[in-house]
Symmetry: C2
DNA sequence: ATCCTTATGCTTGAGTTGAGCATAGGTAAC
DNA sequence: GTTACCTATGCTCAACTCAAGCATAAGGAT
């Protein structure tokens, strides 16, 4: 029967990856100057884990999350110390209001993962070709011959090398590859002179963050979650900028609007918006009904180039 | 800093949804006569949660899992009793060998979810139209008028009513709907005379199982995991039967083979197989290299009808 | 031989997607 | 006020994908 005793007990911790998009920059809520993600213990008084997370994220941000989703449960072995084992249950939360917290609590995603921003003009593309590619090349060459081809293939797939395309949703795989290649300060055998740029976080929080980005980038394509990051009404241009910020990639404008409108994800409010110095744009609002009507309806990424 | 103390401690439990496909029937490993899924406490000596799960599943089945993936972490509030809170971390495991365990440990998926098998000749289609649809209809009518349309829409989407198509991957949504409509014995307000057929399990294990089926049905479409359920070599017909068993749906044969072969998921072994009383089929093996070469490559479901 | 069964190959039409041309309707500079 | 420039929006076209089904192949059973 179910009453069987589980003899050992562990600490349970809730970790939140709360993200928003502000002025075309994706940001994540951090604590203590970006050193870690907000987290807290699961308490007995919490009705459920989601409820526990919701309440104390509201305490911190002053805003209710439009969307919460469980990410992954980690049992970081490095932390199984004297105090016993700790299990971290991580969640992804989306909001459109950054609230009144000091703005340095909201940090740009790409401060932690500069290579993930592949939009033209950003750091990503240069970083990959000038720093990451050569250092991964060295890592490939350092392998025993039998393993060399496997390493090269993995590097090529992750970072779109050798004529392969860049896949935005491989965030976690890229992080783990850099970790294994010791190009990241968290890695045990990392040496300061061979590191790839990017801020670190305490413990395994940067790994948790990368899991969140990966999930969001994947989810956005087949589930209408972007709208949780948008204000009540918005232009299709603003929506596209938001998606591009998350994907770290430019999209084909005309095809993006075709996708959004043909799926009936939005409806016009009747107003227009003329701030951009171009033709005024129609404003739209999200049709919340689609959440009930269908289970698949997303914002695919009609890529450019 | 990370050393912050988490004051309360909880029991941590690993739960496994281990599935295989035997003779065209999808089966799941259970304990104590199908009353619950195999589970066990997370121990300090386990290197990681996956390792812990792997080792004791191997103990139980005598076979190594080809594939293990974390499913979801539940904190069943009903079990937060005197002993304190229990957190269940669930995993999906796939294997192709049912081993030498007594075969009643392996139970047919569809004993627990008869409505999920929509293949012609199985119980599903009749069950939906003759039992589920009318009882859900009553549940819709029982709602306050303002809520009625929302309920109807939800029932229609989940069970493909009102001309909508059946979506195999909505396993969890269907279970939760039946739960809310009190058509399932686990539901608090369920009455014995209005139940939908299907065996129950202890605690929330049937919910965990439905999470597993949902994940597997979704995953199969964009990741080549079916092959973990297949023997070394197989015919395309056998592969199709396996996918159909999981999806609970018939597939268009010619399109299925085109999909599999065009993606280079398999390579011929050169042998043939003549047991079916028809033209002998070529045997194939899975090209394991695709796991490294690509991140997306699945067995989409070329549906029939 | 004839029929039944499963396997395999191929075609066709509908729909989806990537790419880009063309026009609309504003603001800012000259 | 005319020109340049900018973003928004509409539309077309070719390549590709996908559902559906016809046709043929190759075995066993009667």
């Amino acid at each position: 029967m179910m009453g069987r005793v589980t003899r050992e007990r562990v600490g349970a911790e809730l970790v939140a990856v709360v993200t928003a998009v502000v002025a075309g920059r994706p940001v994540v809520l951090t604590a203590e100057g970006g050193q870690h993600l907000p987290f807290g213990p699961l308490r007995t008084e919490h009705h459920s884990m989601q409820a526990g997370l919701q309440t104390w994220v509201e305490q911190q941000t002053g805003h209710r999350l439009g969307y919460v989703e469980q990410l992954y449960t980690f049992a970081d072995p490095d932390r199984a110390s004297a105090a016993g084992r700790v299990v971290s249950i991580s969640y992804l939360g989306l909001t459109n209001a950054v609230g009144d917290r000091p703005s340095d609590a909201w940090r740009d995603w790409y401060a932690f993962f500069p290579w993930e921003d592949q939009r033209v003009g950003s750091a990503g593309p240069g970083l990959v070709t000038e720093v990451i590619e050569p250092r991964l090349g060295a890592w490939v060459e350092a392998a025993p011959p039998a393993e060399r081809e496997a390493r090269r293939l993995r590097a090529d797939v992750c970072f779109g090398l050798g004529g392969r395309g860049w896949s935005p949703e491989l965030v976690l795989q890229r992080y783990e590859l850099l970790y294994e290649a010791a190009l990241i300060p968290e890695a045990p055998s990392a040496t300061p002179d061979r590191l790839v740029p990017g801020e670190r976080m305490a413990g395994d929080h940067r790994r948790i963050l990368s899991t969140g980005l990966a999930r969001l980038r994947a989810k956005i394509q087949y589930h209408p979650v972007v709208f949780e990051l948008m204000p009540e009404s918005f232009t299709l241009g603003q929506l596209q900028v938001t998606v591009e910020a998350l994907a770290g990639q430019a999209l084909h404008k005309q095809n993006f609007r075709r996708l959004v409108t043909q799926q009936d994800l939005v409806e016009p409010t009747g107003e227009t918006h003329a701030e951009t110095g171009g033709r005024p744009a129609r404003m739209y609002r999200f049709r919340r009904a689609v959440l009930d009507e269908r289970q698949v309806a997303g914002t695919k990424l009609p890529r450019t180039r």
